[in-house]
Symmetry: C2
Subunit: 325 residues, 2 copies
């Protein structure tokens, strides 16, 4: 086993997380979800496992956690079904796999891994991606599994109001005639993980349940390598969360890598610059990133981001509000 | 009207274009198709129109031309239907619009424009994108319109052999159990245009019929801003053609811009470096790019690329084989 510094960071979405709406019990639940994801990923890295496996398995835990908008806790699309996107990228091979709006797949990130490992493609979407899931015999769940009361109430509320929500709060996306009033509170629902393993390989994984009440087969940044997810052993691994369209336009995940590669910026400076550029165009959100030396950064321009990482002394640090590392 | 140097380049796909399979008549047909696209785009630019409109309308002509793999000439997916992807991006606003596997839409690039202009989204895919097309009342065509004998024979041949083709030649993508022997001849079917208008704004547009016999809702680089299409007035506009997965992994279109922005490379040097990086990982194809000064470059690493541009003296230059500008 190489002596490279292993590193792991995770996120559960960025946005305005209102302290007034948070109870001590709810906050503890969120912390437990993040803690469990860090535990699994860290165990893999400590026992010589790959960054790719660590990132993937941390995301599996976050997908299974009902309070984050991914897997089990996914929001409802316009027809009352859950549609999910996921992507992972391996810095060593620079290979990637992704799926967009898959249904009934328990862990979309595992399906993304199969796209990477078993096909020559990168991104499979819609009915075709669901056919692929069945051919691969991945674990499926009935609609009931994805039916969490919390999300369903959000969906009914959003459909009634004719708005499209990002995660579970009243941010709306104007889509055709469905324009509505703006709201101050915004949240963006995505989960993600980045890891550096003992061999100095980096990897990133991201998964989302998308936007409540979304229509028209909208694909956000999550399943797009370069936009919401990126990894390359030359530079870093990045997983994003935020208002997807801005992340696509700014090619956010790859832009962090490009600034390191072409301008010799540090991981932290590159990530900060990219998040500031997003702020300048009104793109709310954040990202987590790791370089091949095991350095971590978790910047965001929103009021909060559910996030966690393992400190140099092995302590698990979990944060929800401001106070950015 | 500003005195900026207007510029226009187009492509109709890259790959091995065998002189032995080309007749004088067929070559003249290809040249006419490219010539018509240049004419339309150039007229728009000369009369003070926008780079975005010029790129879009040049692509409309290429979509309507039956010999290129886009719009009218699209290849057949696994179920014998045509599925098409398109994307455009405006360098001035840095806004983008894209659609993936739409069916029966006469001009997918026009639908991409409506995604950009009429929604807050960037990428719509599958059944949802088709619903959007109907809501927008875009021009639809029956299956017959897309049924060109040439493409259909290709499809039947590919389905029989169990291979997935890029454009109309025997390149195959291994997909699950459908592995087949390699072939020397490859072609990639995409059309695209990049333009710089008299105000110094740049824009890019790309459209494709995808791969013959494709399954599983595969999305390539064409509809992904940053991968197959990119435009930004800070740097350049780029439209790609080639083996899509490699273009996604390398974030090709944005990488040209990043090399200009962060390493101060010229358009030509940046584009050449990106195409060489593709060659190094076996990613066959090419790109066309324009900067805000009206400089053009059209590099490719394949044996040929259907391409055209307007020279400094206003002459339309059309090329098919090597001899790169």
């Amino acid at each position: 086993m190489n002596q490279n510094k292993i590193a792991l960071a995770i996120h559960g979405g960025a946005g305005t997380i209102m302290r007034s709406e948070m109870t001590a019990e709810l906050e503890q639940e969120y912390r437990n979800g993040l803690q469990n994801a860090l535990s699994i990923g860290w165990q893999i890295l400590q026992t010589g496992g790959s960054a790719l496996d660590a990132a993937q398995e941390a995301v599996v835990i976050l997908e299974n956690f009902p309070l984050f908008n991914a897997g089990h806790g996914s929001v409802f699309a316009h027809d009352g079904k859950n549609e999910m996107d996921a992507c992972l990228m391996d810095g060593e091979s620079q290979k990637a796999g992704a799926v967009a709006f898959v249904r009934n797949v328990k862990n979309p990130i595992k399906l993304a891994r199969l796209v990477m490992d078993e096909t020559e493609h990168i991104l499979l979407a819609g009915a075709g991606a669901n056919d692929f899931a069945r051919e691969m015999n991945v674990e499926l769940e009935t609609d009931d599994y994805f039916f969490t009361d919390f999300r369903y109430e959000q969906f009914l509320k959003a459909r009634k109001e004719g708005v499209v929500e990002l995660d579970h709060s009243p941010d709306e996306i104007k889509i055709i005639e469905e324009e509505q009033q703006q709201s101050a509170e915004k949240k963006f629902g995505t989960v993600g993980a980045v890891a550096c393993d003992s061999y100095g390989n980096v990897a990133a994984a991201t998964s989302t349940g998308g936007m409540t009440n979304k229509k028209f087969g909208r694909i956000g940044d999550t399943p797009i390598p370069g936009a919401g997810t990126y990894a390359d052993n030359q530079t870093c691994a990045v997983s994003c969360t935020g208002h997807g369209e801005f992340f696509i336009r700014n090619v956010v995940a790859y832009d962090v890598a490009a600034l390191m590669k072409y301008k010799n910026l540090s991981l932290q400076d590159a990530a900060r610059e990219v998040v500031e550029k997003l702020r300048a165009i009104g793109g709310e959100g954040g990202l987590i990133a790791v370089d091949t030396k095991g350095n971590l950064t978790l910047p965001f321009n929103s009021e909060g981001m559910y996030r966690g990482f393992v400190a140099a002394d092995g302590e698990f640090i979990i944060k929800i509000y401001g106070d950015q590392k």
